[in-house]
Every structure is written in structure tokens, then in C-alpha cells.
């Protein structure tokens, strides 16, 4: 080993001498071996190697290094040279594989070594090496997809070696054909002559490949199917003629073949869905997609679970299948002792129809009915029969999950099928594996627009509400939000179970309320007859007023009020305290309780006209109001006009209030308000009289101004990163404000700091920022007329040249002269927000633990409109002594219950030195950002002529924005007892 090292060292030192060697040998090729290259060293190493083991060692070492693109060819030639000399197969094999590896080098075009690589094939005796060489050719071929001639040659080579006796060689040939073959061009005649195969003079790739569907080796059969699929993936159209062969392969003895064959049948079914195929042993004909659907269904009861999973998954995407076949998949004729029996589903339906739901089952209640005609019973499932019944009962949960998935997909596109598969999905709620249960609940939610639950079905669904897993319960709440039910008893049942759920798991409060809200909205007419009972009103007697803090009572009210929204007669049934409670809830839980038109009641609106508008109109009018307010503001040319600031103040207040009232517009309103506030702050800071007073006299004003600057900067980061749905124009506007703030900061620094030195750095940086602004928002610049930036850019050449103090002066005047830039309201803006549900901060019991050890604090929070929460959301823990810890939750802690919403359920570990008394810590969520991850910098600017300066990374600022309100938790670290 040592010797080898030494040897290498020697060659590295003398490599300058040696490198000429390949140059002389192949003068025709242009080789630029400027650096002492590895090729030379390798060459000598290989020459020195006395036995194959040594040579192999050298090659292995060599394989670990990277080779520059320009020296690849030289290395390849040396390897080829050795290849011819080498007698040991394993070394040749390694060389062949290295050639493949080298061909992949970026920037190297392997067309120069194609000929040599092909010629090596001719003399090779070892099958393994042959296979490896073909693999190398495959790599070369995929590197040169455009060269038709080379592709053609490679295909010829592949065809020639297809008749090899070793399976590996045949495999590689098929792979090559799959990756490079073309359908439209039949193989040339001479290639056929060389293969020596009989038959048609010209044959295309597909028929050549399909010959190997019947190969003796299952691995080759698999490779042939895969090659065919590869052709399909490359956009070649497969011929329908292989359908029958593919179907035969479904009965192969080997699971890998069956697995590939299932895929192929599926591909063909998608390609030729409407073709007609005959049914064997009968005169009938059916559509190909139906036929293949039946065949794939058959595979759901295959012996290998891998195949079963695959079959079940593929079924989900066969949407063109006829409804008749689709419905068969759920069909299972029961029989007991040769007599027809009804399934539990059918019995439940009948029981329900007869009005006797929930009667206990009696002995022999499921007694078989009529005698079955023995000849009519078909025990072997022909075609699609009962495929999903099998799939859902499978032993492996992978198959069950795949079946649920497929069922869901198919049901989404067919209402009648959705109706039918309902019972089966509900049955899956009882699966032993939580994942499957959860998935089936989600599946039911997805198809629930198509279906209306019967009472007995609802009953089964609701039973799951008692599940101890929070995920399951919440998924179920989500499901109930989308569920349609048929009778008022259903509503009652659902309410009852939800209340039970509430008492058993009080933490589900929010989720349950939300669920009832939607239940009410969906079924106003069903809730109406229940109202007296729900509110326990009595026609003659006054009933005691319920406790307003009782979550169960709130739950009932949420249901009633939401139903009342579209059922005006309902409010007549309310008693006095109900109205009071309404007012209270409308204020405290405005997201759950809608605006109602109550007779004789004053509406608690502070916004006049738009809040009075009923239902959907109010959103429109709110939007109008938003536009109006902004239009008012945009009238202002300069903020220094008298009254302008007042108007701004009012507008900001209005917008904030609007945001609170109209959740749909909260994002936009907040965004605008924040922007206006920034502008206001900026104007105020500029308005201060400080600009005319001598420096020493205005320390106080300076402090105020710099505080304003700081705040503006903070707000701009919030504007940029907290809101989603921003357009480039808005981002540019935000950056513009930031630029202004920075300019102000620069001016302030110039005034407070003595000397020029500190200024130089800052002003350079500022100029860079202006430049980068210009680069980033080139397309937006037309919108920035008369703005600060435009003015700066006009004098840019001067700025770059001038001294810092001059720069400050320019900035000072530009800042004061520049106009107020108006905001264009973005279409759809959402503000990222988070609420910590747990810990609630209400507990007075401190969390006790021993110092030096850790305690885990469960955190449960919902995040809304946060993009990439896995990367951006952090948990901050603030200890009373000012220590702050930031914890990054694991990606797995984020769950996605619905679009735009994320749930964070995680644990943070707390630890601290001993305290004498319990104290509160603060826990909050933060949104981490860095300006380099700004939404605009992701596509690289195309005009990157100046790559030496890296303005983006340089100016990247990392920081955090508080995302949620802090929650206080009592903790008490104690000294360990000894």
C-alpha cells in the first residue's frame, strides 16, 4: 500500500514529462491537457500493475476522483488501450464501467469514443463485461440524444447482441432499445441481417422488443416490458398489438414480470381506451379500457403484495372505465349454505328503510334467504368483480391504503359510484392501522360533495369521534364540515356526538365549533325544527338562562346562528337572552358567528353601509370601500399638505377595522394599512424641523427619527415576508420604502457621527443597494415616476463619483422632494398568521422539573397562509432572565389539514438553572426570513454581466418576524434533591 502511494507521488511530480505521451499518439484530436492530469498518472499506474488485483485497486482509487471535462477523452483513451491488453475480466469490467462514468462528465461530449467503445464489443468474450460495455454505450447514447447516426449505430449493436445467451447482456440490449429506440423509424435492413432473425425484412423496435416478452428468463421478460414502458415514457406511441401479449404476462410466475405487465396493460388502456377487443370464448366485444380494468382488478388478488399495491393504485387512474364495470368492483354476492344472503350493508339499508334503525341483531337475523341457483354462482371473480372488496380487506396495509386512494379517485369522478363506495369507506374507519383510518376519512371528505349520509351511516361515522387520536378526530371534524345529511335526526345525532366529544376532549373546542358552524350553514332547514329543543325554550315558561361560558352551549349557539343566517324565520324562536348571547358571540367569536339580520335589533357595525349588506354583497362592498379609501389617499400628491396626515391616520384606522370585520379582505387591508403607516412615519420623520437646525441642538429629534427608521425597516420586512400573493410591483414598492428609510438612516448617521470614515462604508453599501434595486425591478421602473428612486437614478453617475458628504446632501434633498408613491392593491393577499392553541396560558400550575434536566412542553398551533412552514417557522422561548431560545421544529411536526392551513404539533424542550419561585416564560412562533430568499431573487437575473460582485448575498439580511401572540407558561425548575 505504502509503495503504491510513493509510486504515485513520484508520478505526480514528473507528470509534466509524461503528459505529452497521449498528445503524440493521437495528434488528430485536439487535446488540451494543460494541468498535470490524472490520466497520465493512471496510465503509468496501470502499466506498473503486475497483477489484476493491483490494477483493480488503481482503478477503484481513480474512480473516486473527479476528472475535468477537457482531460476526459485522454483518460478514456488510456483506459481503452489498457482494455485491449487486459486479460482479466474483472479489470476489463471495471474499465468498462469507468468509461460509462467518465462519459457522464459534465461538459464532455462522448461522441469521440463511441467508435472505440463499439469496437471493444466485437472481441469481448466475457458476458459480464459485454453487459457492462452495453451499459456504457447506453450512457453514451443518453448523453448524445440528438445524434441520429450514433443512436442508429447503438441500436444496431443492441440488436446484434440480443441473441446473447447471458441474461445480463439481453437485459442491457433491451434497455438500450428502450432508451434510444424510435418507433417511427423501422430498423434498417442490415441490422436485421446481422441479427439473423427471420421474418419481416424491416422490423421496428417494438416488435423486436416484444419478441422478448416470451424469453425464458424472467429478468429478460421484465427488462423487455420495462424497455417498452421506457419507449412510452419517451413519448413513443405503443402499438395496440402488444396488448394481448401484455395480458398474457399478467399470469407470469414471477412477480417482477407481473408487476411490470400490470403497468404496461395500464399504459395501453390509457392509449387505446376506446378500441374494441373480443372477449375470449364468446362472440362479444368490449372496450379495451373495460377489458384491461377487469384484468387489473384481477391482479388486486394476486399472490404478491407488491403487485397488489400496484394494481390497486393504477385502478384509481382508470377514469374512462364504464360505470357498469366500475360498480362491479364493489360487488360481492354473499351466500350461506347455498342460499343467498344479504350483506351487512344491504341489511343496514333495509333496516333503515323499515324505520327500525339501531335494533340489535338477533340470532339468525342474517339468516339466508332464497336458495341460490348453483349453476349461477360464479366463484371465480371474472373481471372486476369485488376487486375493491378484496383490496380493502387485504392483509397488507399498503394495499388497503392504495385501494382507498383509488376508490377515492374513482368516486370523485362518478357520483353514483361515490354513493356505492360510501359504506366501504365507512367500514375502513375501523381499520386497525391509524394511517388507513385517517386516509379513509380524508377520502370520504373528498367525495362528500356527491353523497348524503343516511342516519345509520352517520352513526358509524360519528362513533369515531371518540377516538383518542387527535388527528383522527380532527380529520373527522373536517369531514363533517363537508357532509350532507338527510334528516333532522342526523343533525341531532351529530350535535349530540360532538358535544360528547367536547366533554371527553375539551381541547377540541375550536375544531368542534367550526364543525358545527358548517353543519349549520349547510342544513338550515333541518336545524329549524330543532331550535326550540336545542335552546330549551318553552312556549309558556321562561327557562333558566344557560351559562354563557359553557363550551357546549356555545357549540349549540354556533350551530343555530349559522343556520339562522339563511333561515330568517328562525330568529322568531329565540328568547331574549339568546339575542344577548348573539351579540356577545358575534363580537368574541366573529369568525364562527355570522352577521344576522335580526328584527328590531341594532346592528353592531361601525362601518356603516358595507357591513349591513347581506351575505356575499358585503364582501364586494368592503372591497369597494378598500379601493375608495386608497383612491382618496392617492389623491394626495404630497404628504406635507395640511390635513393629509390626518386623512392618512383615518384611512389606516378604517382599514384596520375593515380587516377585522371582513376576514376575506383582512390580508389586503392590513397590507395597505401597514404600507400607509410606513409612509406616514417617513413623512413625519422628514417633517421634523431637524433638517434646518444645527446638529448639536437636535439630539432628541434625531432619536425620534432613527426610531422611525428602525420601525419602517421592520415593517417593510413584515410586508415582504408575512404576506403571500404579492406581485412584483408591490415588492418593488416595499423595497422602495426600505430604500427611503435607509437613505434617511444614512442622513441621520451623517449628522450624528463625526468624521467621514464611518460614512464611506455605509454610503457605498447604499449605492450598491440602489443598483441592485434597479437590477431587480427593471421592469417595474416605469411605475416609479417622480419617486425617490427615479430621482436618485437620474443622478446616479454623480452619486457614484461624489464624496459621502455630498451624497448625504443629495439624499437629503431628494428625500424631501420625492412624492408619495401610491400602492396598487394586490388581487389576493393573505397575511401569514399563527395561533398557539396549546399551551393556553391559562394554567396556574407551574411545570415543575429538576434543573439540569429538560422538560417537554407540548405545543399545538395552527398556521395560516405560511409558505414553506417547514423552513420558516420557529418556536421562540423567552425566559424571564432575557434568555431566548429558538427551536426549529421537525418537518414531520407540520401537518396539512387543509389548503393554506398548517398545523404544528411539536414539543419544545425547556431547561434552566434553579429558580426560587415559579415564573412565566413566553412561547411564541416566529417567521424566519432572509432577504436572499426573497420571492424575487429565486429566478436568477438573466443579465448577470457582473458576477464578481455578489450584491444579493451581501445584502442578505436574516431576521425573524413574530408570527403569533406570545403565550405564557409557568415553569419551576427546582434544584435536584440529593
Amino acid at each position: 500500500m505504502m509503495a503504491a502511494h510513493l509510486k504515485k507521488r513520484v508520478y505526480e511530480e514528473f507528470s509534466k514529462v509524461v503528459q505529452q505521451h497521449p498528445l503524440e499518439e493521437v495528434p488528430a484530436k485536439k487535446l488540451r491537457l494543460t494541468k498535470p492530469s490524472k490520466s497520465a498518472a493512471l496510465h503509468l499506474d496501470l502499466c506498473k500493475a503486475t497483477n489484476p488485483t493491483d490494477a483493480l485497486q488503481y482503478l477503484l482509487q481513480f474512480a473516486r476522483k473527479t476528472v475535468e471535462a477537457e482531460s476526459v477523452e485522454g483518460v478514456a483513451r488510456i483506459l481503452l488501450e489498457h482494455y485491449y491488453k487486459e486479460t482479466d475480466t474483472s479489470v476489463r469490467l471495471k474499465i468498462a464501467s469507468l468509461l460509462g462514468l467518465l462519459s457522464k462528465t459534465q461538459g464532455f461530449s462522448p461522441d469521440c469514443i463511441v467508435d472505440d467503445a463499439i469496437s471493444t464489443l466485437n472481441n469481448e468474450k466475457s458476458h459480464q463485461v459485454l453487459a457492462q460495455l452495453l451499459d456504457t454505450l447506453l450512457v453514451i447514447g443518453t448523453q448524445l440524444p440528438d445524434s441520429v447516426a450514433i443512436t442508429q449505430r447503438l441500436i444496431e449493436v443492441a440488436c446484434k447482441h440480443l441473441s446473447d445467451t447471458y441474461f445480463g447482456v439481453r437485459n442491457k440490449c433491451l434497455q438500450l432499445l428502450g432508451c434510444l429506440g424510435t418507433v417511427d423509424k423501422p430498423l434498417t435492413k442490415e441490422s436485421d441481417a446481422t441479427t439473423g432473425t427471420s421474418g419481416a425484412p424491416t422490423r421496428d423496435v417494438q416488435s423486436v422488443i416484444s419478441d422478448y416478452f416470451a424469453d425464458q428468463d424472467p429478468r429478460v421478460r421484465t427488462a423487455a416490458i420495462k424497455a417498452m414502458l421506457q419507449l412510452h415514457d419517451r413519448g413513443m406511441k405503443l402499438q395496440q398489438t402488444i396488448y394481448n401479449q401484455a395480458c398474457k404476462l399478467l399470469n407470469d410466475d414471477y412477480e417482477q414480470v407481473r408487476s411490470a405487465a400490470v403497468q404496461m396493460v395500464w399504459v395501453l388502456s390509457q392509449l387505446y381506451a376506446e378500441s374494441i377487443v373480443p372477449i375470449p370464448s364468446s362472440n362479444e366485444e368490449i372496450r379495451l379500457v373495460d377489458d384491461s380494468f377487469g384484468k387489473i382488478c384481477h391482479m388486486v388478488s394476486d399472490g404478491s403484495w407488491v403487485v397488489r399495491v400496484q394494481a390497486a393504485k393504477l385502478l384509481g387512474s382508470m377514469l374512462q372505465v364504464s360505470p357498469h364495470f366500475l360498480e362491479q368492483t364493489l360487488d360481492k354476492k354473499l351466500m350461506s349454505d347455498l342460499r343467498r344472503k344479504r350483506t351487512a350493508h344491504e341489511r343496514a339499508k333495509e333496516l333503515y328503510a323499515s324505520g327500525e334503525f339501531s335494533s340489535g341483531r338477533r340470532w339468525a337475523d342474517d339468516a339466508p334467504k332464497e336458495k341460490v341457483d348453483t349453476s349461477g354462482v360464479n366463484l371465480i371473480d371474472s373481471g372486476a368483480c369485488g376487486a375493491f372488496v378484496h383490496g380493502l380487506e387485504d392483509e397488507m396495509y399498503e394495499v388497503r391504503t392504495a385501494s382507498v386512494e383509488a376508490l377515492c379517485l374513482l368516486a370523485q369522478s362518478s357520483a353514483s359510484f361515490a354513493e356505492k363506495c360510501l359504506d366501504f369507506l365507512v367500514d375502513m374507519f375501523n381499520d386497525e392501522i391509524e394511517e388507513v383510518r385517517l386516509q379513509s376519512i380524508h377520502a370520504l371528505r373528498q367525495i362528500s360533495i356527491h353523497i348524503t349520509l343516511r342516519e345509520d351511516q352517520l352513526d358509524t361515522v360519528l362513533a369515531v369521534l371518540e377516538d383518542s387520536s387527535r388527528d383522527i378526530r380532527e380529520a373527522l371534524h373536517e369531514l363533517l364540515c363537508y357532509t350532507n345529511v338527510s334528516t333532522k335526526e342526523c343533525i341531532q345525532l351529530a350535535l349530540l356526538e360532538l358535544l360528547k366529544n367536547l366533554t371527553k376532549y375539551p381541547t377540541d373546542r375550536n375544531s368542534v365549533w367550526k364543525c358545527l358552524k358548517f353543519l349549520g350553514v349547510r342544513h338550515p332547514t333541518l336545524v329549524l325544527p330543532l331550535v326550540p329543543e336545542l335552546l330549551s325554550t318553552h312556549p309558556y315558561f321562561d327557562t333558566p338562562e344557560p351559562d354563557m361560558d359553557d363550551p357546549a352551549y356555545i357549540a349549540v349557539l354556533v350551530l343555530v346562528f349559522n343556520a339562522a343566517k339563511s333561515c330568517p324565520t328562525m330568529s322568531a324562536l329565540f328568547s331574549d337572552h339568546t339575542f344577548r348571547h348573539y351579540a356577545y358571540l358575534r363580537d368574541s367569536l366573529s369568525h364562527l358567528v355570522p352577521q344576522l339580520r335580526l328584527p328590531g335589533k341594532k346592528l353592531t357595525s361601525g362601518l356603516g353601509s358595507e357591513a349591513c349588506g347581506p351575505g356575499s354583497g358585503s364582501v364586494e362592498s368592503a372591497r369597494l370601500f378598500l379601493q375608495d379609501s386608497l383612491a382618496h389617499v392617492s389623491m394626495l400628491q404630497s404628504l406635507e399638505a395640511p390635513g393629509a396626515q390626518d386623512l392618512l391616520d383615518f384611512t389606516i384606522r378604517d382599514l384596520q377595522r375593515l380587516g377585522e370585520l371582513q376576514t376575506e379582505l383582512a390580508g389586503s387591508a392590513d397590507f395597505c394599512a401597514t404600507y400607509l403607516r410606513c409612509q406616514l412615519l417617513l413623512t413625519k420623520a422628514l417633517q421634523e424641523k431637524l433638517w434646518n437646525i444645527a446638529v448639536p441642538l437636535c439630539l432628541k429629534q434625531n432619536a425620534m427619527a432613527s426610531a422611525a427608521v428602525k420601525q419602517i425597516l421592520e415593517e417593510t420586512y413584515k410586508l415582504e415576508f408575512l404576506y403571500s400573493g404579492l406581485e412584483t410591483r408591490q415588492v418593488a414598492t416595499i423595497h422602495h420604502v426600505r430604500l427611503q428609510a435607509k437613505a434617511l438612516q444614512l442622513v441621520l448617521t451623517a449628522r450624528t457621527k463625526r468624521g467621514v470614515d464611518p460614512l464611506i462604508g455605509i454610503s457605498e453599501k447604499f449605492i450598491q443597494e440602489v443598483e441592485s434595486f434597479q437590477r431587480l425591478f427593471m421592469s417595474e421602473l416605469p411605475h416609479f415616476q417622480e419617486s425617490f428612486v427615479e430621482k436618485l437614478l437620474e443622478v446616479m453617475p454623480r452619486l457614484v463619483a461624489c464624496k459621502p458628504l455630498d451624497l448625504v446632501k443629495i439624499l437629503q434633498t431628494t428625500l424631501r422632494q420625492s412624492g408619495f408613491l401610491h400602492l396598487k392593491i394586490p388581487e389576493q393577499i393573505h397575511r401569514a398568521s399563527a395561533t398557539i392553541i396549546e399551551p393556553t396560558g391559562e394554567s396556574d400550575n407551574p411545570l415543575r422539573f429538576t434543573t439540569g434536566l429538560v422538560v417537554a412542553l407540548d405545543i399545538d398551533a395552527t398556521l395560516e397562509h405560511v409558505q414553506e412552514p417547514q423552513n420558516t417557522v420557529k418556536v421562540q422561548v423567552l425566559y424571564p432572565d432575557g434568555q431566548a431560545h429558538i427551536i426549529h421544529p421537525k418537518p414531520g411536526d407540520f401537518r396539512h389539514p387543509g389548503p393554506g392551513r398548517v398545523r404544528l404539533i411539536t414539543q419544545v424542550y425547556l431547561s434552566h438553572s434553579a429558580w426560587t419561585e415559579p415564573c412565566q416564560i413566553e412561547v411564541r412562533l416566529l417567521l424566519a426570513y432572509s432577504s436572499s430568499t426573497s420571492k424575487l431573487s429565486s429566478p436568477k437575473p438573466a443579465w448577470n454581466e457582473s458576477t464578481e460582485g455578489l450584491p444579493q448575498t451581501e445584502s442578505s439580511i436574516e431576521g425573524t418576524i413574530p408570527l403569533s401572540k406570545p403565550v405564557k407558561v409557568f415553569i419551576m425548575p427546582k434544584l435536584a434533591r440529593r
Binding site: 445467451t165 348453483t374 358509524t460 371527553k504
Partner: protein
């Protein structure tokens, strides 16, 4: 023609005392050795005198295979091995070996200690019998002797249940034992590969039934229990100690866990505890869920299920009790039933079939007043529910297994004749293979057409390759010439050393090795050319072993020619 003979001694058109004799390739195998629950006389055991009138069975049987631990499959084992006399190997899976003696001992106790029978096997005999057992693993090929090999496949049904493939040479038989094609809460589904046996001997208990999904039944069961417990009622579940009991335990245990329920669940002790211990041990035999989660927690280490004490029955508040025996005919389950029967809040759930005459059967038929032990009448107010949890394959399951194994013949056992008839028709109609259903003592003979494997010498193969086309085609037969040698039970196909062509080849190879510098050609017309010298081999029909070698050369090559002739006169080296 070689044939396989199958004779059921029990379980032929019947359920109980499974015992099937198979003769295959000169080997005799006994599959299962069970007892019949319905009889208390001699009929309860299989009639071993069918094998031999007197003397031990050892010399007639090559091995005994037990599929699972149910008594109707292993109950007669100690009787056969110790009392009739058998010393050969008995094969069973590890769990079966562990649990089987517990059940046999229990069976012995009831028969001898309670019923007072005398001529019965003793505890010692059970122990001696178990010493003869050889445990096998799933998918492990066990070589019983040089020719006979067996292999076990997973069968579901109960813990440790196995299907066995018996193979002698190219002939094979698969015996399924009892199996289940749908997974349940603690066991997986039966599985077999496409082994294409000559005969598949399958159970057919539910030959005429197609069952509904298990989930509905499970859900109903759980709902009933849950509702009763919520009402504050007590639930009694009479069970047999092993098998379904564990499934129901897992079902309730996970449900309690999921739903966060607090009511206690009890299990009446006895042999269950021991058995539960084995369930904990043999995790690999259980279903996917239990296998995957046992690292965190073994599902059979019940959190909510505790041992029952008879005083608990009077405790107030809700509870669930599993008690033996399953048909409420005696023992603890009956005692508890008597205590709880009067309260309509309570419930009894019968998870299995009840024999006529037992209290279980009476209450299932809606009888409201019971006379117990001839004295007081007991009023039945509690709710009675029936839930069938059977672990046999239904008709579809049987068909599915047949499809998986692709047998050439099928033989039905362990079922009622009438039902078998139906299934037999269906099988013959849909698979187009012959199906048999012999009665006890009736022998079914199936002729097999085994392919005879012959070793072929590499040289011959290579020569054929060189002459013939590119690849052997599995679908087309091809003739080749060689010598077949039958020696020591093995067949070898060799290159014929005495044909002319072969001699020529040998000469060719010899010359090739000696005369390195010359061009030597083996021409297709049966000659060898060395430069211009032609060599031919011929022989007469009368004396094929005497070869005449002809050398012809022209004068120019005199030197080489004479060298060759002297070389060939020396003969060929021994190696060729």
C-alpha cells in the same frame, strides 16, 4: 405410471378427527392425527388398524405432519404414537409444538379426571410423544430422508397453523390443514406460491358460503360492547380458550385504547395465560400490524385486560368478561351467566357456534326461561347477541388458494359431503381440473406424469449449442444424441464416446493440442484437415467399437503425414 394415493382416515366428507394418509413416490405420510369432538367411544380416534392390524406404525409411515394445534387435528397424536406405537418423526411448527401439549393435557384431564375414563393416554405419554416432534419453520425445506422433503406455508386460522407441501422427486402434494384467506386482528392471510402440486388437499368447511366483510361484524361487535358498557351494563363473552379468544382480546384491547375507555376487561384464567404467553413469543406468526408495532409494544401484553377472579362478578359498574367454555354448558362462563342473566342492562355475546342442547344454543334461539340443573328456573333478561368470527376460508377463499397454487388435481376434505359436492362442481367447471372427495377409508388414486430430470454433461450441451440455433426454445423439443446412464438412482446423459463423430472430435482436439503451429480444421462433412492432410473415421456396423482411421496426404506433405500416422498409432491420451 407412477401414482399418488390419498386415503382419509378421518375428515373424509366429515368435520373432525382429521387424518389423511398419502402415498407418494413410495413414501407414506400421515397428515394430521385428530380426534372427533362428537364421539366418546372408539370412533373419536381415527382407525389406525387400516394401516396395520398389529404391530407398530413406524415401519409403515415415513413421517407424520400436524398442521395446527386444534384437537381435531392433533388430539389423537399421543394415542397413535404411544399406545398404537410410532417412533418416526412428527413435524409441526414451533407455535404448534408449544401449544399443542397444553391442549392435549387439558383434553386428557377432562376425559380422565372428570369423566373417569381409564384406557386413555397419560401425561407422561403426552411428554414422550412431544419428544418425537421435529419443529419446522415457515418456508423451510425439511429433508425427511433423501427423497422426501416437506415445506410449510403460512395458513392463518390459528397461531402456528401451516399448510404443507410434500415432495418426492417431481411429484408433490399440498395439504392445507385449516386456513383463512382473509386476515383478522391477530393473524395474516394464508399464502402459497405457484408450486403447482399434483394434488391439493384442501379443507372445505365453508364450501357453500361466501362471507361478508369482516369489518362490519367487528364494528357491530364493538358497538354492542361499547353501548352496553356506556349504559353501565356488564358484557359476558363465552369463548374457547384459544384462537378466537385472542382475536377478540386484541380487538377489544385496541378499541379500548383508541376510544380511551376505562371499564375493566377480564379474562378468566386457566390455560389462557400460558397460551397468551406463547402468543407473545411467536410474534413472527401474527399479522402485519402486530409484527410492525411489537418493538414499541407487544400487542399481546394487554394493558386493559386483566385476570378474572370469581369475586369480581359481583362488582358494581360496567365490565367485560371473557370466560370459558364457549357454549355456556359448564364452568365459569355459566356461573357468571347465572349471576348476570337477570339484568336487562347486561349482555352476552356468543362468538361462535353452539351445539344443540347447550344453554348457549337455547338462549340463542330466544328461550327466556331456563331450567338449570333441574332446580330453579332462570329468567333470561339480558340481551343475547350472536357474532360469528370464523377463521376458515369461504368458497371464494378456497378458489383463491387454488388459483394461487395451480394444482393439477384437487381433493376436498374437512367438510360436509353435500357442500363438497357443490364446490367440486364449481372447481371442475371453473378450473377444468379433476376434483375428488373421498369418504373415510376410501382411497383416491391419481396418476402422475412426472418429468424425469436427467443430468447432461456439459460437453454434450456445448456441442449441441454449437450445432443448433441460438437459444434453446422451451416450447420445442429437440433431439440430441448421447448415452443415457442409469446408475445409483440417477440419470446422466453423456456424449456417446463410441460414435464416429465423437472419435473424430477427440482426434481433432488431440491434434489441436499437439500441433500448435499448423492449421487444423474440423470440417462439417465429418473430416479433419491438417494443412492438406485429410483424416476420416469410419467403423463397420458389426463391430462399432473398432474404428478405422483413414489418413490421406499428398507427396508434398509426406513428412507431416508420416508424423501424423505415427502420432495416431500411439493412440489418444487417456484424458480424451
Amino acid at each position: 405410471m407412477p401414482e399418488i394415493k390419498v386415503t382419509p382416515l378421518g375428515a373424509g366428507q366429515d368435520v373432525g378427527r382429521s387424518c389423511i394418509l398419502v402415498s407418494i413416490g413410495g413414501k407414506n405420510i400421515m397428515l394430521d392425527c385428530g380426534m372427533h369432538m362428537g364421539y366418546n367411544d372408539d370412533r373419536r380416534f381415527p382407525d389406525f388398524s387400516y394401516i396395520t392390524q398389529n404391530g407398530r406404525l413406524t415401519e409403515f409411515l415415513d413421517c407424520v405432519i400436524i398442521s395446527h394445534f386444534h384437537l381435531d387435528h392433533c388430539g389423537a397424536l399421543p394415542y397413535m404414537s404411544e399406545m398404537v406405537g410410532y417412533d418416526g418423526p412428527i413435524y409441526m411448527t414451533h407455535p404448534t409444538k408449544a401449544i399443542c401439549p397444553i391442549l392435549l393435557e387439558d383434553f386428557r384431564k377432562i376425559t380422565v379426571d372428570k369423566k373417569g375414563e381409564t384406557n386413555f393416554f397419560t401425561s407422561q405419554m403426552i411428554k414422550d410423544c412431544m419428544k418425537k416432534v421435529v419443529p419446522i419453520n415457515l418456508h423451510q425445506t425439511v429433508q425427511v430422508d433423501d427423497e422426501l422433503e416437506i415445506k410449510a406455508y403460512y395458513a392463518g386460522h390459528v397461531l402456528g397453523a401451516a399448510m404443507v407441501q410434500i415432495k418426492v422427486g417431481a411429484e408433490s402434494v399440498v395439504y392445507t390443514g385449516d386456513y383463512n384467506m382473509t386476515p383478522d386482528r391477530h393473524l395474516g392471510a394464508a399464502w402459497i406460491d405457484k408450486c403447482r402440486p399434483d394434488i391439493l388437499i384442501t379443507e372445505s368447511t365453508y364450501a357453500t358460503t361466501i362471507r361478508d366483510s369482516k369489518r362490519c361484524r367487528e364494528r357491530d361487535f364493538l358497538k354492542k360492547v361499547h353501548e352496553t358498557v356506556e349504559r353501565g351494563g356488564k358484557v359476558l363473552i363465552p369463548v374457547f380458550a384459544l384462537g378466537r379468544a385472542q382475536e377478540l382480546c386484541i380487538l377489544l384491547e385496541t378499541f379500548w385504547e383508541r376510544m380511551n375507555l376505562k371499564a375493566p376487561i377480564y379474562f378468566s384464567t386457566g390455560l389462557t395465560e400460558k397460551a397468551n404467553h406463547y402468543y407473545k413469543l411467536f410474534i413472527t406468526w401474527t399479522n402485519q400490524k402486530i409484527r410492525k408495532t411489537f418493538v414499541q409494544r407487544n400487542m399481546f401484553e394487554f394493558k386493559h385486560i386483566k385476570a378474572f377472579d370469581r369475586t369480581y362478578a359481583d362488582n358494581p359498574g360496567p365490565m367485560v368478561v371473557f370466560a370459558t367454555p364457549g357454549m355456556l354448558h359448564a364452568g365459569q362462563s355459566l356461573q357468571i351467566f347465572k349471576k348476570w342473566a337477570g339484568n336487562e342492562k347486561n349482555m352476552v355475546i356468543m362468538p361462535g357456534y353452539c351445539v344443540q342442547g347447550t344453554i348457549g344454543h337455547k338462549i340463542l334461539n330466544g328461550q327466556k326461561k331456563l331450567e338449570i340443573e333441574g332446580r330453579a328456573t332462570l329468567e333470561v333478561k339480558l340481551q343475547v347477541e350472536y357474532m360469528s368470527f370464523s377463521a376458515h376460508a369461504d368458497a371464494k377463499g378456497i378458489m383463491q388458494l387454488i388459483r394461487m397454487a395451480e394444482p393439477r388435481n384437487i381433493l376436498l376434505v374437512h367438510g360436509e359431503a353435500k357442500k363438497m359436492e357443490f364446490l367440486k362442481d364449481k372447481i371442475e367447471q371453473e378450473f377444468n381440473v379433476s376434483c375428488f372427495m373421498p369418504a373415510n377409508g376410501e382411497t383416491t388414486t391419481v396418476e402422475t406424469n412426472p418429468s424425469v430430470p436427467v443430468d447432461i454433461s456439459l460437453n454434450l450441451l456445448k456441442r449441441e449449442m454449437a450445432l443448433g440455433g441460438p437459444l434453446p426454445d422451451p416450447k420445442k423439443p429437440r433431439t440430441m444424441h448421447g448415452t443415457l446412464i442409469m446408475k445409483d438412482n440417477s440419470l446422466r446423459l453423456l456424449q456417446d464416446p463410441h460414435s464416429d463423430a465423437d472419435t473424430l472430435t477427440r482426434i481433432y482436439t488431440h491434434l489441436k493440442s499437439v500441433l500448435k503451429a499448423y492449421t487444423i480444421q474440423h470440417l462439417p462433412d465429418g473430416t479433419v484437415m491438417v494443412e492438406s492432410i485429410v483424416i476420416k473415421v469410419s467403423s463397420t456396423a458389426e463391430e462399432p467399437n473398432i474404428k478405422v482411421i483413414l489418413l490421406s496426404w499428398s507427396y508434398q506433405d509426406e513428412e507431416l503425414g508420416s508424423f501424423l500416422s505415427t502420432l495416431l498409432k500411439k493412440g489418444l491420451p487417456a484424458g480424451l
